[in-house]
């Protein structure tokens, strides 16, 4: 059963491994989880820059009141496609498809995921859906203009490419389900001998909770989008009041998925942070079980709070009260994690390397995003700021400040393992500072603008909002220049950087016990499983 008698195989990194195919085909038909992870990384990075450029175009439009660079209808198309790309093609798959694919099997001592071919198939489905989504921008009826939320009845009536965009979201959801399914089976069936659930590092725990959400929530958006498509194609009136339907029902069904989807974005992000903080403090993670189970708790309670998106849509008072209460409840496990991270740092020997800088700024931005989320969760304040720039600021702090910064933290943390090369620290720190300043300049003014009454999704505004909008736009340009510097530094690191040792950060989890980059089989010898994965002695 154990493999410790197997002869030592000569080490060949997965990047150089020769398989069935050569050249490009050895990548796009690879079933190795590490190659698939890199395929996702390149695809998602590309989509992220497309989405970011659309975002910049919006910021340019909003730099002055009135029509600046585009017509209102163009603006509607741009914020919709920006949302579709960023949500469905970047942040939902982001961490779990890239780092989950690469590191989940390694962290639990497995050679690969449970279904490698299905894994490759998921990537192809993802690419197919992404092509559809991007194409919806260019087809003849014009880009969808409903916002990424596709609210009925407008989405059943507008003449734009809604069918194509919703089909894209459906296909992308299917890919997400298959990835989640694959990870769940992997965690249940592929753990190395001796690796019990409570010996797993906390990133796999986060991926585990995430995978359940992907599996159980995504079908709901699937059926909702199918109903919407049927409504547009065949005039089946589920949501159009003229045909007997109920548009509010669409909102319910949409958020039954899309609130849990926020946790698909943020849970793996928390998992990444939980890996990074102990490494750079050289301390055992504080409250291992609390962090592991809080992921599961967030996933569970997260299914029951969707109504907080709909306080102003028409809901009974009891329902609003109920959803508000549960929204406050779901904040508790998130806060538990923050306390645990801070306690892990306490009295640790903190090493301010780039991954840790990103991790700490994640905590900072996540606290701002999380507490403003509570403002939105309580009915009275929500009604005041509903559909204003405040919402835009809040969810960008969660999604970009949270998931995005965690993604940057993860890439700085794991890049030496993935490519066996190290990037330049000084340039990484400068890029981090620019990104952090740019991010806050971009989004913080929008909290204030929202309070003052600036609506979201408007291409025009009253002159009184101009100061805030200009600061925000300047922040946008600073942010993007920081991002470019960061990517440049990482690419240069991969191409010309110093070779990285197997364990550059003195990490304790399994990925640091194998060569950088890993061999195709990950473990040429059976891994030694520690009782506590964060044991630094």
């Amino acid at each position: 059963m154990t493999h410790n008698t197997v002869d030592k195989i000569e080490y060949v990194s997965f990047l150089e491994h020769k398989g069935k195919y050569k050249g490009l085909f050895s990548w796009i038909f690879a079933t190795d989880h590490k190659r698939i992870a890199l395929l996702y990384l390149y695809a998602i990075a590309t989509f992220f820059f497309v989405g970011a450029i659309l975002g910049l175009l919006m910021r340019l439009e909003l730099i002055a009141p009135g029509e600046t660079i585009m017509k209102p209808q163009t603006y509607n198309g741009i914020f919709t496609v920006h949302g579709i790309i960023m949500i469905f093609m970047v942040v939902i798959p982001g961490l779990s498809a890239v780092f989950g694919n690469f590191f989940l099997p390694i962290l639990i001592g497995a050679k690969d995921v449970a279904f490698p071919k299905l894994n490759l198939f998921s990537w192809w489905v993802f690419i197919f859906g992404s092509v559809l989504a991007v194409a919806s921008q260019f087809m003849k009826d014009g880009p969808p203009d409903t916002g990424w939320t596709f609210y009925a009845p407008y989405s059943t009536a507008t003449g734009t490419n809604v069918i194509m965009a919703t089909t894209a979201a459906f296909v992308l959801g299917f890919s997400s389900i298959l990835t989640g399914l694959n990870f769940l089976v992997t965690i249940h069936q592929m753990r190395a001998p001796g690796m019990k659930f409570f010996n797993m590092p906390l990133f796999p725990w986060a991926i585990y909770a995430t995978a359940w959400i992907q599996l159980l929530a995504t079908p709901i958006i699937g059926i909702t989008l199918l109903m919407l498509i049927a409504e547009r194609l065949f005039g089946i009136g589920f949501f159009d009041p003229n045909l007997g339907g109920d548009p509010i029902l669409f909102q319910h069904l949409f958020w039954i998925y899309s609130h849990p989807a926020v946790y698909v974005m943020i849970l793996p992000a928390m998992g990444v942070i939980t890996e990074i903080i102990p490494t750079f403090c050289q301390r055992r993670v504080y409250g291992y079980k609390a962090i592991a189970l809080s992921s599961v708790a967030i996933a569970g309670v997260g299914f029951l709070v969707w109504g907080h998106h709909m306080y102003t849509s028409g809901m009974s008072n009891q329902a609003r009260w109920f959803f508000s209460l549960l929204t406050f409840v779901v904040a508790v496990p998130s806060a538990i994690k923050v306390f645990n991270w801070l306690s892990t740092m306490y009295k640790g020997s903190i090493d301010l390397k780039p991954p840790f800088l990103y991790a700490v700024s994640f905590i900072f931005l996540f606290i701002i995003g999380g507490t403003t989320g509570l403002l939105l969760g309580s009915v009275a304040t929500n009604v005041q700021v509903h559909d204003t720039a405040f919402i835009v600021a809040h969810f960008h702090y969660i999604i970009f400040g949270g998931m995005g910064f965690a993604f940057f933290a993860a890439i700085h943390y794991w890049l030496p393992k993935m490519y066996g090369k190290m990037y330049n620290f000084k340039r990484a720190n400068i890029a981090w500072a620019i990104i952090f300043v740019g991010f806050n300049l971009l989004y913080f003014p929008q909290f204030i603008l929202g309070f003052q009454g600036m609506p979201r999704r408007y291409f025009d505004y009253l002159p009184q909002f101009q100061t805030g909008e200009v600061i925000s736009s300047i922040g946008g340009f600073i942010l993007v220049s920081g991002l470019i510097l960061m990517v440049y530094n990482l690419v240069m690191g991969v191409r010309k950087g110093e070779p990285s040792p197997a364990n550059p950060w003195n990490g304790s989890t399994l990925e640091w016990q194998i060569p950088s980059p890993p061999s195709i089989e990950n473990f040429d010898e059976a891994p030694v499983i520690k009782k506590n994965p964060y044991d630094y002695n």
């Binding site: 449970a114 399914l181 069936q189 709901i220 009136g237 589920f238 045909l243």
Partner: protein, 205 residues
């Protein structure tokens, strides 16, 4: 040592495949679960219209289809048992019988739908536009749910045809039959969904 090694590895993969299929079945149930939710909301809103709507469906055809699907669930289970007992011929026969039952179901459905279309009752038709709201929703749900279910029947049939070919070429045999097992599981799911659809659509009058 090496023998047991291979055996345990294989056994372990079977468990993984089965777990994967169960998880996939969860997602399918939730997909239809969303529809059942919509159904129950609209039925609570328009109980009379739903009652009248169901009067227009033929309980006989629905009942025949229910029996056909239940029978097919039995035959696919028999195919699995036959395979476990190394009776390849019987297993293949039973899979073929299951496929025939699926075709019978679809033919029945075709005539049922055809009759509705013949009367001008289909989504987007002039007649549908004249119906009362609840009535309209009932038929919208009827067409949408049965169409989605029929699509799942077809997916299940494709899966069973793949299984059949693999049994024929001995790639599924008495010691390696997890694909047949998963195909059977999926077929039971398709059956189960119909067991819900039948009373919800046909028997509420």
């Amino acid at each position: 040592m090496s023998d047991t090694n291979i055996h345990t590895e294989e056994h372990r993969n079977d468990d993984a495949s089965k777990l994967g299929m169960w998880l996939f079945i969860f997602t399918e149930l939730l997909l239809f679960g969303g529809l059942f939710l919509v159904y129950s909301i609209y039925r609570a809103q328009y109980p009379h219209n739903f009652h009248e709507g169901s009067l227009e469906l033929s309980v006989t055809i629905g009942a025949i289809n229910t029996i056909v699907l239940l029978f097919s669930s039995m035959t696919i289970a028999m195919a699995l048992t036959a395979m476990q007992r190394n009776n390849k011929k019987l297993a293949m026969t039973m899979i073929v019988v299951t496929l025939v039952m699926a075709v019978v179901f679809l033919i029945n459905k075709y005539f049922e739908w055809g009759a509705k279309f013949h009367h001008g009752l289909y989504p987007g038709s002039d007649l549908m536009a004249l119906l009362e709201r609840g009535h309209l929703l009932y038929f919208s749900l009827y067409f949408f749910m049965t169409a989605l279910h029929a699509f799942h029947i077809i997916v299940g049939m494709v899966l069973l045809i793949v299984v059949l070919l693999r049994v024929k070429s001995n790639r599924i045999h008495a010691h390696k039959y997890v694909l047949l097992e998963n195909g059977a599981l999926y077929w039971h799911l398709v059956d189960l969904i119909w067991i819900f659809l039948f009373p919800l659509l046909y028997l509420i009058s």
